[in-house]
């Protein structure tokens, strides 16, 4: 049972219950044995892909939708296509290696044939932009015949392309109007959009043979002119002749492109769009600089290549894009009938903002070593119009793995990337709060009105999730902000993607309950030995006034060893009264009324208790722990009101209900084989957690222990009750000062942070999308309602989605997370976040929108589930396969020009690195000694931490500290915070003369090189020599030197940014902790794991299979 429950994550306790389960399970069921969660998708979708993948060409992440596209049908259709693609593929692949001219020629040839005519007909620039966007799709559709089945799925989509194709040539002239439409908007955003089309184009073309015109035309043109330039030139001519005016516009974007094209003859088509964008970006202030910085080498290379025919190239680019655009244009207009106008804007926006081009720049991972950006990786910006993007939800709150949503499940399957959302819904924010007697929601799907709805007129609005038309209530006509009437679209609800409502009483099942805090403390001999009790009591004493709440706040205490001790704190007593219940089999409350007391009225008694508690058990010899009974007692105490239970445990519970046995074999910690006992040993804790959840009680677990405590079992108590888990391995008040400090700081944050009670969260998305699996700590009630007895600002969540109905007619889709909670002051509030993302129909657009960090974060969650339900090795394989699948899909289907190497779009260039980092992460590593509890805790962290922190845990940041300067420093509150660049995690980046800080999220290491500069040692560490650095140093001395101030400013700034306290270890080569530091050197080889380069070779090998 335990496994089942676990795997469903937050299944319900009863029968079918595991709500999460159902969704997940289907996938698993569909897929063959090994393949568990979406990750492995063996069942194969495309034959093509399957082939490439080799062993597990898992069905992607798709769950349900997936089936419709079953291999069978596709296969049927497939045979003919494959042959073509295969043929073309080889050629393409070869081409690059061959001479540039050849490769260039094929590409261009086809283009010209098809594209050029239309280009002429239509006004160039506008057409380009608008069309380019759309071109993408058509191209893919073309492609469809030969390879990628996904498109087939969509009859509508498939059809149009053909149409466009044919029409492209003929209708070209007719197209003009469309191009015009596109033009104005595109003008601003020109080039970026183009990239996709080109990519698709070439591949298609060659493969494409079918269209008779293309082949013949292509060759001639190619032959006529010198290889790369020729093509361009031709196109260019056509374009230029057709319409000069357009050129200028396109040029701006494209200028740079030519160079790229030239550089990589074959690549040209693909890369140049990207390149163009990049270049364009460079010209502009912002983004380019960064890119350049990252890839210093690239620009030069491109430039060189460019050199040959710069001027001509231009045109070439334009031409190339133009043709595409034209072709697509017809397509676009026809199919999109309703929305051309809308579409074009979004397209334009996309091109403008974008990062798209850069996102798709082809990167050969085997050649470019320095891929890590010098600063933290920013979230990609969705390709939306500026107006929409301005209103969009912050990526800190809401992120999607794909910032461009694929139009169909088959397209998603083809990309082999997981589709999901990562949320940090209760993050500490300042946000607008609205009090209104009516909260405007869609009458059909209950979506809250948001910035992405449309107003048909002043009296009606159309829901952006279900498209129902709703009336605007009279009250909504008045805008309290501007105090004006008749402007419903200016209300704060429609101007803010994140907003909070004060809920009317309809949103309450019962009157708001007081904030109730119950502390359940282990006081066995073992616990007393660790000395945690005095730290806890002191922390609570220090922060008791800062506990969130009002005059009704209640507190209570339970301690336990082999018996349960209650404390009567009723007003009027002269001192706290301890009541011992030794009947742990049938626990009862000795005096129901006075165990939870009003904090205001009984503060003195509470303080008395906290002062005496540490001494009370000083001499205890009781070694047993009846945790299960203590939890039951605490549950009874909290049931009437709900509230928060904070449990402190220091050993394996070994008495009464919920008793556990040690399941860890220390000899197996470093085993390279599968890890056992990742799932709970008993369902006691899960069942109790579900009972707690039903009574609005959340359980937070603080585990302080040197020995195995079976966190896999104990953790369920928090996981299903929406609590949080803290783990302090080897906690000891004297021997481990770093842990003590961490515990103190964490406690302070824990006791004083905001808290919401009786919360529920629901995530809605536009019709056609469906959420099927949830990750995080909660219980799923009624299929999609997350029950959160408590919600805290440090909890992250993730969900997986599938596309159940094609999003054919939609330019954008929206996601809305609504969190209903009661504040500690008794206010019922609803926090609503809405995010809007564009829908795309081409695979390269899907790739261009990939958010590599979000993808990694979601994969980590999925892999945790997989480890528990299946096995660790399965999870590891699945992660590796995720990288193989997506990159091979990219290579096969999105890349127009094949070249040797391991190719990735720039936006996914860190993907293999992150996957490798996951494989080496405590949660998933094998062959390196890892305690079971630490592994399980790491798994909890991956699921629970908001993405920003999870990423640090996965891929730590390394900085050099001995040469910190104020250059580029941040200035916050008059403090100067140096911003050293992030270094690759490789020993080769270290130097004996330096000092390096590794920030791994929950822990930081400051490594001091053997020959570290004397200056750093004396000015920052305050020691005279390397040898004088103390063995266990966890504190930077506060020296009055510039170096010390800079270093401390950086460390404390890093710490301040997260809600937990990472301890700092200053280590030398001889330090015990050095192996921990070295294990995080992810790019290096270890005895049990591949180096980054080896891993890339492995991926390449698998991809080319």
């Amino acid at each position: 049972m335990s496994t089942a429950g676990f795997n469903s994550q937050n299944g319900t306790g009863t029968g079918q219950t595991y709500t999460n389960g159902p969704s997940q399970n289907p996938v698993a069921l569909q897929q063959p044995p090994g393949v568990g969660y979406g990750m492995n998708h063996q069942p194969a979708y495309n034959p093509m892909q399957a082939k490439v993948l080799g062993p597990p060409s898992p069905a992607l992440y798709a769950s349900g939708p997936y089936q419709p596209v079953p291999p069978g049908p596709q296969l049927g259709s497939y045979p003919p296509p494959p042959a073509q693609p295969l043929l073309t593929r080889p050629q393409i692949g070869v081409l690059p290696s061959h001479t540039p001219p050849q490769s260039a020629s094929p590409g261009p040839g086809p283009r010209q044939a098809q594209a050029t005519p239309p280009a002429q007909a239509t006004p160039p620039p506008p057409a380009v932009t608008s069309t380019s966007y759309y071109t993408g799709p058509p191209a893919w559709q073309y492609a469809a015949p030969w390879g990628p089945a996904p498109n087939h799925v969509n009859p509508a989509a498939a059809a149009p392309p053909h149409m466009s194709h044919g029409s492209a040539q003929l209708p070209g002239p007719g197209a003009p109007p469309t191009s015009i439409h596109g033009y104005p908007q595109p003008g601003t955003a020109p080039p970026p959009m183009n990239p996709p089309p080109p990519h698709t184009y070439q591949p298609n073309r060659p493969a494409y043979g079918p269209p008779p015109t293309a082949p013949p035309a292509g060759p001639p043109g190619a032959t006529g002119t010198p290889p790369p330039p020729k093509v361009d030139a031709q196109c260019w001519r056509a374009a230029s002749s057709a319409r000069p005016p357009t050129e200028p516009d396109t040029q701006e974007g494209d200028v740079e492109c030519p160079g790229d094209v030239a550089g990589n003859g074959p690549q040209a088509p693909n890369s140049y769009n990207h390149v163009d964008n990049r270049m364009a970006g460079a010209a502009q202030p912002g983004p380019p600089g960064r890119h350049l910085g990252h890839y210093p080498s690239l620009p030069p290379g491109y430039q060189n290549t460019l050199a040959p025919p710069p001027s001509s190239l231009h045109p070439a680019l334009q031409a190339a894009t133009l043709p595409y655009t034209q072709g697509p244009q017809p397509y676009q207009q026809q199919p999109g009938g309703p929305g051309p106008d809308q579409l074009s804007p979004s397209m334009a926006a996309m091109s403008l903002q974008s990062g798209t081009p850069e996102a798709l720049r082809v990167v050969n991972l085997l050649q470019e070593r320095n891929l890590l950006p010098p600063a933290p990786v920013p979230a990609p910006t969705p390709c939306l119009t500026q107006d929409l993007q301005k209103l969009n939800c912050s990526p800190e709150v809401f992120r999607c793995t794909l910032t461009s949503i694929p139009q169909t499940q088959s397209l998603l399957n083809k990309a082999k990337l997981p589709l999901g959302l990562l949320l940090h819904p209760f993050k500490d924010l300042s946000l607008p709060v609205v009090t209104s007697s009516t909260i405007v929601r869609c009458r059909s799907c209950r979506t809250y009105i948001n910035p992405f709805v449309s107003f048909l007129d002043q009296r009606r609005w159309k829901c952006n999730l279900c498209y129902r038309v709703n009336d605007v209530p009279e009250e909504f006509m008045y805008n309290p902000v501007s105090r004006s009437y008749g402007e419903p679209h200016k209300r704060p609800e429609v101007q803010n993607a994140t907003i909070e409502f004060i809920a009317p009483s309809e949103y309450m099942l019962r009157p708001p309950q007081p904030a109730v805090y119950l502390f359940v403390l282990d006081v066995s001999h073992n616990a007393v030995e660790t000395g945690y009790l005095s730290v806890f009591c002191q922390s609570l004493l220090d922060n008791i006034k800062a506990l969130p709440g009002d005059s009704r706040t209640k507190v209570g205490f339970i301690t336990f060893d082999s018996t349960i001790h209650f404390y009567n704190l009723q007003e009027g007593l002269s001192q706290p009264q301890m009541l011992i219940v030794s009947d742990i089999e049938d626990i009862f409350l000795p005096t129901p009324d006075s165990l939870l007391v009003n904090l205001n009225e009984c503060k003195e008694l509470v303080q008395d208790l906290l002062k005496s508690l540490p001494n009370l058990f000083e001499k205890t010899m009781e070694t047993q722990s009846a945790l299960g009974s203590a939890l039951q007692a605490a549950f009874k105490l909290l049931s009437p009101t709900g509230g928060r239970m904070s449990v402190f445990q220091t050993q394996l519970p070994n008495l009464g209900v919920g008793a556990l046995q040690s399941r860890e074999d220390p000899n197996q910690r470093a085993s390279a084989k599968d890890v056992q006992h990742l799932s709970p040993a008993t369902d006691f804790y899960k069942k109790l957690a579900l009972d707690c959840s039903g009574q609005q009680v959340a359980v937070d677990l603080f585990l302080l222990s040197a020995q195995y405590c079976d966190l896999a079992s104990l953790g369920c108590i928090s996981r299903f009750s929406a609590g949080s888990v803290y783990y302090y391995p080897s906690y000891h008040h004297q021997h481990n000062p770093a842990q003590v400090e961490r515990f103190q700081r964490d406690l302070k944050r824990y006791l004083t942070r905001k808290i919401g009670f009786e919360a529920v969260m629901r995530i809605r998305c536009t019709k056609g999308l469906s959420i099927h699996t949830f990750h995080g700590n909660f219980f799923v009630r009624s299929t999609d309602l997350l029950s959160l007895p408590n919600v805290n600002p440090d909890a992250g969540f993730a969900v997986q989605m599938s596309i159940e109905e094609n999003l054919d007619d939609m330019q954008v889709v929206s996601f809305q997370a609504a969190l209903l909670y009661t504040s500690s002051k008794g206010e019922r509030r609803i926090r609503v976040h809405t995010m809007c993302l564009p829908v795309v129909s081409s695979l390269s657009d899907v790739f261009a929108g990939a958010d590599v960090q979000a993808v990694t974060g979601l994969l980590a969650c999925m892999a945790v589930d997989r480890s528990v339900t299946s096995s660790l090795s399965d999870a590891r394989d699945a992660m590796t396969n995720a990288a193989i699948d997506s990159l091979s899909s990219y290579r096969q289907s999105a890349l127009t020009i094949q070249q040797p190497g391991l190719l990735a779009p720039a936006c996914l260039r860190l993907f293999p690195l992150y996957i490798l980092a996951l494989l080496k992460q405590k949660a998933f590593r094998t062959g390196t000694s890892t305690r079971l509890d630490e592994r399980v805790f790491a798994m909890y962290q991956l699921k629970y931490q908001p993405l920003a922190f999870a990423m640090l845990i996965i891929h730590p940041a390394l900085y050099r500290l001995d040469d910190l300067s104020d250059e580029g420093a941040l200035n916050i509150n008059e403090r100067t915070i140096p911003q050293p660049r992030v270094l690759q995690l490789s020993v080769e980046k270290l130097s004996r003369e330096g000092a390096f800080l590794m920030d791994a999220g929950l822990v930081m290491y400051l490594w001091i090189g053997r020959n570290c500069h004397q200056n750093f040692l004396s000015q920052v560490l305050g020691v005279s020599s390397y040898a004088a650095v103390p063995e266990k140093l966890c504190l930077l001395p506060e020296l009055d030197t510039a170096e010390s101030q800079r270093t401390r400013a950086l460390v404390s700034w890093l710490r301040d940014q997260r809600p937990f306290f990472p301890s700092l270890h200053i280590i030398r080569d001889e330090s015990q902790l050095k192996p921990h530091f070295m294990q995080n050197m992810i790019e290096d080889r270890t005895e049990s794991a591949l180096s980054y380069y080896e891993f890339l070779l492995h991926l390449q090998q698998q991809i080319s299979k």
Binding site: I502, S505, M508, L509, P511, P512, D550, S551
Partner: protein, 182 residues
């Protein structure tokens, strides 16, 4: 025993403060009664009788309206009427003293939820049989308790219109109280 106490604004039924006794032992589900209370509060208006008792199965709702504030409680049918109304008046006085002036301006439900603490204490003194002796004054102050109207909650709620004095089906007074009525 008093299970549920709600103080609301008469004008719109907005709940201002409340206290619930969720009794684990009895395991009573008060949800149904809560929604009845909500409906009732929405129906009450200035025309409604200012004191009334509504029967709901083996429980009674009692309410008391004054100064635009309505105090409502749910108690056992066996709970003495005098006690119930004494309790409500007590709450009402204290509440209006503390928050009365702010009542018309608030918009958020349960704006004065902190009054819960006072409600619980007061309730204790009325419910606890030992403490009741101290409340002997109640009986004398509430001479007119017998004139309180009695109706059935379901009938009232189903009537669909605002509750007002002449809409009440005034039932015969319970026998034990007839002696006092004149």
């Amino acid at each position: 025993m008093i299970f549920l106490t709600v103080i609301a604004r008469l004008a719109d039924g907005l709940p201002l403060a409340a206290s619930i006794q969720e009794d684990e032992q009895s395991g009573r589900d008060l949800q149904h009664y809560q929604s009845q209370a909500k409906q009732l509060l929405r129906k009450l208006d200035a025309q409604s009788p200012d004191r009334c008792m509504l029967e709901a199965g083996n429980m009674n709702f009692c309410y008391f309206i004054s100064q635009g504030v309505c105090c409502l409680c749910l108690c056992d049918a066996s709970f003495p009427k005098k006690m119930a109304f004494g309790y409500l008046e007590d709450l009402h006085n204290e509440f209006c003293e503390q928050y009365g002036k702010r009542v018309p301006a608030v918009t958020r439900p349960y704006s004065f939820i902190e009054f819960d603490t006072y409600i619980q204490k007061t309730k204790k003194s009325y419910v606890d049989s030992r403490a009741r002796r101290n409340l002997s004054s109640v009986s004398t102050e509430l001479q007119d308790v017998q004139r309180i109207m009695v109706a059935n909650i379901e009938e009232v709620l189903q009537r669909g219109e605002a509750l007002s004095g002449n809409q009440f089906g005034v039932k015969p007074q319970p026998v034990d109280q007839l002696s006092d009525s004149s």
